[in-house]
Symmetry: C2
Subunit: 255 residues, 2 copies
Amino acid sequence: MGALHAGHLSLVRKSTTIADRTVASIFINPRQFSPTEDLETYPRNEEHDLKQLAAQGCDLVYVPSRDAMYPKGYQTSIVVPELSQGLCGTSRPHFFGGVATVVCKLLNQCRPDLAVFGEKDYQQLLIIKRMVTDLDIDVKIIGSAIVREKDGLAMSSRNAYLSSQDRATAGHLNRVIAEVARTIASGARADEALCRGRAALLSTGFPSIDYIEVRSADDLTLLGPGVIDQPARVFVATVIGKTRLIDNWPIDKNQ
Amino acid sequence: MGALHAGHLSLVRKSTTIADRTVASIFINPRQFSPTEDLETYPRNEEHDLKQLAAQGCDLVYVPSRDAMYPKGYQTSIVVPELSQGLCGTSRPHFFGGVATVVCKLLNQCRPDLAVFGEKDYQQLLIIKRMVTDLDIDVKIIGSAIVREKDGLAMSSRNAYLSSQDRATAGHLNRVIAEVARTIASGARADEALCRGRAALLSTGFPSIDYIEVRSADDLTLLGPGVIDQPARVFVATVIGKTRLIDNWPIDKNQ
């Protein structure tokens, strides 16, 4: 969606190391915004985006208009219903349908051999993988690790919305879920670790927590309340000021 | 879906005249049947189907299992909401979602240059065209004229369900809508022609009429009640015995 940061650029670099040619798209997709969300104010910086993509070795940038993507009479949508429930699907019920549909279109327009998506939007990544498998789209979907600021805040175009005070608070989000993940990995009950994490976030200055949960890394099944013995991640979402922040952290017993 | 008749075979012949290679699929798609419909009793005659396809010059027949099409964890579906409203979408609300999804899968599995669908299922044909355009699937969808029995009954695998008395009644369906289409083409009001058509069907022995309507041939917009001055068709659906019959007829001012 443009307003590129180091997270996006890491996807381009990953692609250039494994593919002969790399294509990026910049498209602020209206179908993944609700009427109350920030479609019109979403950060835009196309000229700078194009320079950064060129510097990373991106071979082509595709910047379609809204009318080119959704001409008059457009009506088709794709839903991946089970993976779209819970987590961000609860507060953003139409978001993942909009994402799945536009990604299907972009894949069909470009016909890439592989496509790289960030693990920051982990639910989105699994939905895209599921859609590609279910609809027999001939592409390999590759997840890429979250890129973080110095204090560990996951990079996001929406971080630009944060006031300096909220930005300072936001830096604690990743540390709290990393600690929850470490505690669970060391054998603690998930429910107790999550309660401590929730309390830590509230005391650090987050006004409210949308969710903090442990889910299967493979299919997002809600895990707990006891000890976790399968590949899993801690998922969190908060709203600070008017900015929604999300993050996730693997529960890794070998760490 | 197999149980092939001359209508299906006409699609194969059409393909062999315009394409280098012709592939047919036989798959009774569970996702386009409701729990109360005839999935388990739908007519099957695979051996005979394969012989007929070979005789028409079909190069390959694809007969996937249900598990190959919808393995464990499958969940994605495609909806084309506006075109799926009205006509058969009213009594079969999940039908067209099941059709659009399986056709998308088959197109992605086969990657044909063109695909031929019959005009008997005219709403389905427009939904598939719309999906292919909307999702940027690289295939040309070609409609093919309805093939009829000697008395004009549109060929359908479900005609095999009809008792001999119901089969005799069924032969009047096409004649009534052809007469409605001719009357409208000659300048009569649509509402009056449809009322006469409805009365003619009831008096001929059809116990009930699901719908008899005039709609745009391009986007299925409901037309009338007055004179029709754009490309249009008469659409009809009835249930006789336990068998649902559908048909449609172009309103052609040059006829």
